[in-house]
């Protein structure tokens, strides 16, 4: 019963905050922005607000966090409430958990973002080239991607990590390459729909080169779907990195990250009956992952809905 009350309470607060945020955006922004945000649903506003909070927390982690990322204290395995210096307690080697949680966000988000950008550069360039040049290049790239996509992504990632060894850099590269196959498929399809347009034919018949075609004619028309896709890809990459780290194969110590925090703290869940705050520690890290992903998805969902609505 109390749990239900808590949930309702949280939902009400979230709705109120999102409403206020949207009202503030409409009030502050110039006219085109006003029109855009006036029709934004509350969930999307919530998503946007959360993304802003996460990004600021990640950027200003050194300012917000009470201690340094790898700072070790003589008090280890402190439970929340044991020591006023450590709000959420300390881990088995004496690092402040609140600090680790904040830095974990910074690392996980930053690495996922970097990986997604890499995957996008790789996939989008190859996809646009395949669609514009066509012929053997398209065949070569498409068949390669088909073969790479015939193995489930997590499984392939694990195989490659076995081979290249466990390190953060390896993980970033492996995921970027594997995820670029998905970006390739989408950007090739998007560009493929644009390439058949008469204005591309007109530019080709004028004698324009590949660079002009891709950057001046195709890219401006491909940006909206690609931005939405970037949001979705970020979610996938973020979840994949979290999963790998949870398995102990992703982001490596001493970097803090949410996936491995969940694994390290998971035993506390069994204390739920007599120490609810302690039990919620692993859920906090896992929930932080879920909350960011869901926020991005809410915003992407709204963008896709707008795009499909405008087409009709």
């Amino acid at each position: 019963m109390t749990t239900l009350l808590y949930i309702v309470g949280i939902l009400v607060v979230a709705a109120a905050a999102s409403w206020l945020f949207r009202a503030a955006l409409i009030a502050v922004l110039p006219r085109p922005g006003k029109l855009l945000f006036r029709t934004m649903p509350l969930v999307a506003s919530f998503g946007l607000l959360m993304i802003i909070i996460y990004v600021s927390a990640a950027l200003f982690a050194p300012v917000i966090a009470p201690y340094g990322e790898a700072e070790v204290f003589d008090k280890f395995n402190a439970l929340p409430g044991d020591d006023p210096r450590f709000l959420l307690g300390t881990d088995q080697i004496g690092r402040d958990l609140l600090t680790r949680l904040i830095y974990g966000g910074r690392n996980t988000i930053g690495i996922a973002f970097l990986t997604t950008v890499l995957a996008f550069l790789l996939g989008a360039i190859a996809g646009f080239l395949a669609a514009t040049v066509g012929g053997w290049l398209d065949q070569l790239l498409s068949r390669t991607v088909d073969a790479l996509m015939a193995i489930p992504q997590l499984i392939f990632a694990l195989l490659l990590i076995t081979i290249f060894g466990q390190s953060t850099i390896n993980m970033i590269l492996v995921i970027a390459v594997l995820d670029s196959t998905r970006v390739f498929r989408l950007s090739r399809a998007v560009a493929g729909n644009i390439v058949v347009m008469d204005y591309i034919e007109a530019a080709k018949l004028r004698g324009e080169g590949l660079g002009y075609l891709i950057f001046r004619e195709i890219l401006p028309n491909a940006t909206p779907p690609l931005i939405a896709e970037f949001g979705m890809r970020f979610c996938f990459v973020f979840l994949l990195i979290a999963a790998l780290s949870f398995l102990g194969l992703g982001i490596q110590p001493p970097l803090a990250d949410w996936g491995s925090m969940v694994r390290d703290l998971s035993q506390f869940i069994n204390y739920a009956v007599f120490a609810p705050l302690t039990a919620s520690l692993p859920l906090m890290a896992a929930g932080a992952i879920a909350l960011l992903t869901v926020s991005v998805n809410f915003v992407v969902d709204w963008m896709l809905h707008r795009a499909s609505g405008l087409k009709e």
């Binding site: 008469d198 034919e201 004028r206 004698g207």
Partner: protein, 550 residues
């Protein structure tokens, strides 16, 4: 006619449509009466609201539309305020609908006859067995080939014209009091259109069914309707019986619609026999992959003259254009430009060779990049071909805009989606002119436009031709356009040239039988045209023409 009982009464109908998160009124208070056994033609250009009004007469609106005001009464029943269940008992049984695209409106998963018998079955009008027998009878009356078996095929196994007649039969299945025909022949070729028009008119007469016939084609509506209502942007312009309306239109708008068909620029003197043609297509054959699509096509285009290439869909007329521009290198034959052969592949042509042959497209929407400003759309070819930059380039673009009768200060910085269809097509013309070419291919440039706008484009093209001495290749399926602007005509069918020659010759008999069929199939603004044509051809002939096409 006027003594007949009133079947449908619509008063003060207002409908709103949703676009960009906002409701806008698209039908502004329309009144409409329809008597039993009467055919009312609803005519208007795109955006007139004619389909929306037609569907509203069934008490139906599409997603994203809503009726905000007015009454719709059908045989004493208030269609706007009855329960959905009661409306369903009327739809299909007492009011039926025939859609524009039969291919998309038949369910691909079921046989044609099973879709036919569904209505009578769910409305308990006939048993399935009775309805099947009746379907075969209707197919026979609609002159479908092999009426006993055609219904047992799936929709994708039957041609478009036949499917459209099968859909008319389906609409008849419950013997409704009224049928809404929503542009039933727009998607068909002219020769197929005749068969469908004749079939629809006969069946509606035989069963004394009332009908609302929606179309944008004046000549078609003249054959089908007893009365015509002209619509413009959701408002009624005027209404009269067909003969009165054709002979004495009252409103300026209606008169202007009628007048379109009379545009006829003065004829040009024939080209001197010794002149080297700008473009000469010589014995060109081409194929898509392994499938041959063009066979030994030859014709010449001279400076300052227009060659119209005419044919139905699949005739290969657009393929010829692709061969000339070099997008599809021919398998045999060659293209000469001022007597010199052009490289078959456009990638092998010099910048100057590319400059000399320009193209204007059918769909201005896809021909202009929506994310590029007019200044760049026109400025880029100017700079690319003539090397002008900065202020000089700007002056040239402004001059081009003036040439196509668009105000430079107003349009220089705009994006294509902000322009109307006709304005976009003008920008397409200006882009071709920017290259300062000798020769322009016009690919169905007016067929996506409303008639008045199309008229303006034709006049502009004619003026430019006389001023700049341009040679045009005009690809079209619309013979009215050919009649007004062509100097020479090339008739194509199944990838071959059937007949070619100067326009006056082509429009006077004797013709090749196919040219004859094509020419005589174009509806004319005479209410007796279809009746006379059918008499002249003999009813059996239409069936023959249909089977010959299969």
């Amino acid at each position: 006619m006027s003594e007949a009982e009133l079947l449908v009464t619509v008063r003060g109908l207002r409908i709103e449509g949703r676009s960009e998160d906002r409701w806008n009124e698209i039908v502004h208070g329309i009144d409409l009466d329809l008597h039993r056994g009467e055919v009312l033609g609803l005519i208007g250009e795109s955006g007139a609201g004619k389909s929306t009004i037609g569907l509203a007469c069934m008490g139906f609106t599409r997603d994203g539309c809503r009726i905000t005001d007015g009454t719709i009464e059908f045989d004493g029943i208030d269609l706007r305020n009855i329960s959905p269940a009661r409306r369903r008992r009327i739809l299909g049984r007492r009011i039926a609908y025939v859609a524009q695209s039969a291919a998309a409106s038949f369910n691909p998963a079921h046989k044609i006859i099973d879709q036919h018998t569904e209505g009578p079955m769910i409305h308990h009008v006939m048993s399935v067995a009775e309805s099947r027998a009746d379907a075969i009878e209707l197919y026979r009356r609609l002159r479908l080939p092999d009426p006993e078996h055609i219904g047992f095929r799936y929709p994708h196994q039957v041609s478009g014209g036949q499917l459209q007649r099968a859909m008319t039969a389906m609409a008849m299945s419950c013997r409704p009091d009224m049928i809404i025909f929503d542009e039933p022949t727009t998607a068909l070729d002219v020769t197929t259109q005749i068969e469908v028009l004749a079939a629809i008119r006969d069946i509606v007469e035989q069963y004394n069914t009332a009908a609302i016939y929606i179309t944008h084609d004046l000549a078609v509506v003249a054959q089908m309707a007893d009365r015509i209502k002209v619509l413009l942007r959701g408002d009624e312009v005027e209404e009269a019986d067909t003969r009165t309306m054709l002979a004495h239109p009252r409103e300026e708008y209606t008169k202007s619609l009628w007048a379109v068909r009379t545009f006829a620029p003065p004829p040009k003197p024939p080209a001197p026999p010794t002149e080297v043609p700008v473009i000469s297509v010589q014995n060109v054959s081409a194929s898509y992959g392994a499938a041959p699509v063009l066979f030994d096509v030859s014709f010449d285009i001279h400076k300052g003259r227009t060659v119209a290439v005419v044919g139905e869909s699949g005739s290969g007329k657009s393929t010829v254009a692709r061969c000339i521009t070099g997008l599809l290198p021919p398998t045999k034959g060659q293209i000469l430009h001022n007597g010199t052969p052009l490289p078959p592949d456009y990638r092998k042509r010099s910048r100057d060779q590319l400059r000399q042959a320009q193209m204007i497209y059918q769909m201005a929407d896809t021909a202009l990049n929506p994310k590029v400003r007019i200044s760049e759309i026109l400025g880029r070819p100017v700079q690319f071909y003539t090397g002008l930059r900065g202020a000089e380039r700007r002056r040239r673009v402004e001059a081009l805009l003036e040439q196509i009768e668009m105000e430079p200060s107003e349009f220089y910085n705009r994006f294509p989606p902000e322009l109307s269809g006709g304005q976009k097509q003008r920008i397409g013309i200006a882009r071709a002119l920017a290259a300062e070419p000798e020769f322009i291919i016009c690919d169905e440039v007016t067929s996506a436009l409303d008639q008045l706008v199309a008229e303006g484009i034709l006049k502009l093209l004619d003026r430019l031709q006389r001023e700049l001495g341009l040679a045009y290749m005009f690809i079209t399926h619309d013979l009215a356009t050919v009649r007004s602007i062509a100097d020479e005509v090339v008739v194509m069918k199944n990838g071959e040239v059937v007949e070619a020659g100067p326009k006056p010759e082509m429009f006077t008999p004797p013709h090749h039988p196919y040219t004859d069929l094509l020419l005589s199939s174009v509806p004319e603004m005479d209410p007796d045209w279809l009746t006379n044509l059918l008499k002249q051809r003999g009813v059996e002939n239409i069936g023959d023409a249909a089977s010959a096409r299969m």
